[in-house]
């Protein structure tokens, strides 16, 4: 059995088939990229996995467990974290508290304990802080700890969103266009981090990406989508030279 599996996943808005009977599997410890032209249904698949939309039909399995009916907030508790295409950070909070929100799934304290800030809460906070510091170090975010998100440039926000996802210590991470809006240098950094996430942290990565250089550098396998359907699946070069994929991008 594979680590993560989507079976005949469909999402229809009326007559529009955003995702149409898509099936794929992700193996533990691999980096799988989803590519495709705009509107191909890439982000919709992510939104289905993180349960922002309920699928019209089909099933999603994670570690051999059917998660199709789990509520959205339980997905993170299972160990699936994600980033968003148009950065969804908590704008009016500091970087540190954004990252600490990432730790939410590991918090065990009760409301009444927090009201009194009992020693257990204090200990928990320090433990969370320690883990957050490790992520800050991993992604070189030291200069920004106490800054408000609303004052930070786009490139940094993108990294903070990745950091927030990593703070939840996920087993599977969904990256929605990690390089969009980044310059060449930042994209380079991003590709190193993605590979480090796999090799050092042992996280399985599922990624939607347009930048083919990045895709070629990091991906183990690639899936090409168009009009909600899978066109091709395989190694990066196989997929890029697949006639259907060429046709989809260039027009037949």
């Amino acid at each position: 059995m594979s680590y993560f599996r989507a079976e005949n996943l469909s999402l229809h808005f009326g007559g529009l088939k955003a995702v149409d009977a898509v099936s794929f599997a992700v193996e533990k410890g691999e980096i799988l990229s989803i590519i495709g032209p705009n509107g191909a249904g890439k982000s919709s698949i992510f939104n289905l996995i993180s349960r922002i939309y309920p699928p019209t039909s089909g099933k999603i399995f994670f570690e051999d467990q059917d998660i199709t009916q789990e509520p959205a907030y339980d997905i993170a508790k299972l160990g699936i974290a994600r980033t968003f295409q148009n950065i969804e950070l908590f704008e009016n909070a500091t970087v540190l508290s954004n990252l600490l929100v990432g730790r939410h799934r590991h918090s065990t304290t009760q409301l009444w304990q927090e009201l009194l800030f009992l020693p257990s809460v204090r200990a928990g906070e320090k433990a969370h802080r320690r883990r957050v510091e490790q992520v800050i170090e991993f992604l070189d975010l030291e200069p920004y700890r106490d800054k408000l998100i609303s004052g930070l440039p786009y490139g940094v926000r993108k990294v903070i969103e990745l950091a927030r996802a990593l703070c939840s210590e996920p087993k599977l991470i969904l990256l929605d266009e990690p390089s969009s809006g980044l310059n060449v240098e930042e994209t380079d950094d991003m590709s190193f981090w993605i590979r480090d996430m796999k090799s050092e942290l042992g996280i399985t990565v599922l990624m939607v990406e347009h930048d083919m250089t990045l895709v070629n550098r990091v991906s183990d396998r690639v899936i090409a989508l168009n009009y909600g359907r899978v066109l091709a699946m395989g190694s990066p070069s196989e997929v890029q030279h697949h006639p259907d994929v060429v046709a989809a991008y260039l027009g037949a």
């Binding site: 922002i52 997905i75 148009n86 908590f90 929100v101 939410h104 799934r105 939840s168």
Partner: protein
């Protein structure tokens, strides 16, 4: 300017980041403690109202400022707290018991209001909370066996630990102050732990909060419950201070006053709740002045400028009629809100931060430091 050199994770957690905070808040507390021995009884009474309004402000701040759920129904929560106290008093229930019961009951009602409010956002939530307030107001007027209807209820003088606590005495003031301080400390504790961060996360992006494992519905209900419970506690003190309660005290206007407290004080900060409460309570003496002294002053000025006695008299009558016109208070509130939203969205506390920074940076402050930037509206957001 002071630079904090952090050497421990504790530095990010503690309530007072450095010794300066301890001294200034210690001084403030000392001033508040000796206040009853210095201030006139009128000012003391105002100070008690500041404490009560600030407590409600903190409660509303949790819901509106930190969780991002607007409410125009907090007068109803205050009423539930007040009526619970007045009702239980009839059965000789001791103060600590009915105080806690009022908070608990209001908290439960708050949670119940929170459930239907889960599906509503923004303006629709405001409408829903207003409707809730109207329902409560109507219940207070009609449920005569419990609330005594429109005739209202008398609230007996408080008995605490065998002593009588007069509503004008220093003990009552200390009690209100203690409730306020405990509320603030509890809220600060909440804000530096996972629940508080979850509230802020929900305010800024529900989608992201959900994908980080936050049960948005549960935390919204929690926020409603906590906010309502705090308001319920304040309601008990409110009832004791007024010694008489009736449905017409808990109208929409009161809810709007609470919104003013957090809006003028500055959303997103507990300082704001307190500053807003001071502002709101102190505006009343100003309105009284407007009504009582202003016509005479203006007429006197007109007479001095050579308007003649008769015309000065006319002017005095006209100004007096204007100053005692119905709804003047509401109009002034409205103008104040509009002015603050336009020119100082961060409220009095925001202004105070700017003044503080001006002195910290002294010769280097630039006009553009706080220039508001244009922020691009997000085009595509998952709600």
């Amino acid at each position: 300017m002071r630079f904090l050199f952090k050497t421990d994770y504790e530095d990010d957690i503690r309530l007072f980041p450095h010794s300066g905070y301890v001294y200034s808040y210690g001084l403030l507390l000392a001033v508040l403690v000796i206040a009853p021995y210095v201030l006139s009884s009128y000012l003391m009474s105002q100070l008690v109202f500041v404490c009560i309004y600030a407590t409600v402000g903190v409660g509303l701040m949790i819901l509106t400022g930190f969780t991002g759920q607007a409410s125009l129904g907090h007068a109803a929560f205050l009423a539930i707290g007040a009526y619970t106290a007045a009702y239980l008093q009839q059965f000789n229930v001791p103060f600590p018991v009915y105080f806690l019961a009022a908070g608990l009951l209001t908290g439960v009602v708050g949670a119940l209001v929170g459930f239907p409010a889960l599906r509503l956002q923004g303006i629709y939530l405001v409408i829903a909370t207003i409707s809730f307030a109207f329902i409560v107001e109507e219940i207070m007027a009609r449920w005569e066996s419990v609330t005594n209807g429109n005739e209202g209820m008398r609230v007996k003088t408080m008995q605490l630990l065998g002593t009588t606590v007069s509503r004008d005495g220093p003990t009552f003031y200390y009690l209100c102050l203690a409730v306020l301080v405990l509320t603030i400390v509890g809220t600060l504790n909440l804000l530096r732990s996972p629940t508080g961060r979850a509230f802020v996360a929900i305010r800024d992006s529900e989608t992201a909060a959900r994908s980080m494992g936050i049960n948005v519905a549960l935390y919204k209900v929690k926020s409603f419950a906590i906010s309502a419970a705090i308001t319920g506690f304040a309601g008990v003190l409110f009832a004791h201070k007024l010694s008489f309660i009736s449905p017409e005290m808990f109208t929409l206007q009161l809810s709007i006053e609470f919104i003013i407290v957090i809006l003028i004080g500055g959303t997103f900060s507990l300082h704001g709740a307190v500053l807003g409460a001071i502002f709101l309570v102190m505006i009343d003496p100003f309105l009284t002045y407007l009504k009582d002294d202003m016509p005479g002053v203006i007429a006197g000025a007109a007479a001095t400028l050579g308007a003649g006695t008769e015309r000065a008299g006319h002017i005095q009558d006209a100004v007096a009629a204007f100053a005692s016109a119905n709804g003047l208070k509401g109009a002034i509130y409205g103008v104040i809100i509009v002015v603050f939203v336009l020119f100082e969205p961060l409220g009095l506390y925001g202004r105070w931060l700017k003044i503080k920074l001006f002195f910290q940076l002294f010769p280097l402050y630039k006009r553009a430091t706080f220039k508001r930037q244009k922020i691009y509206v997000k085009s595509e957001r998952n709600r």
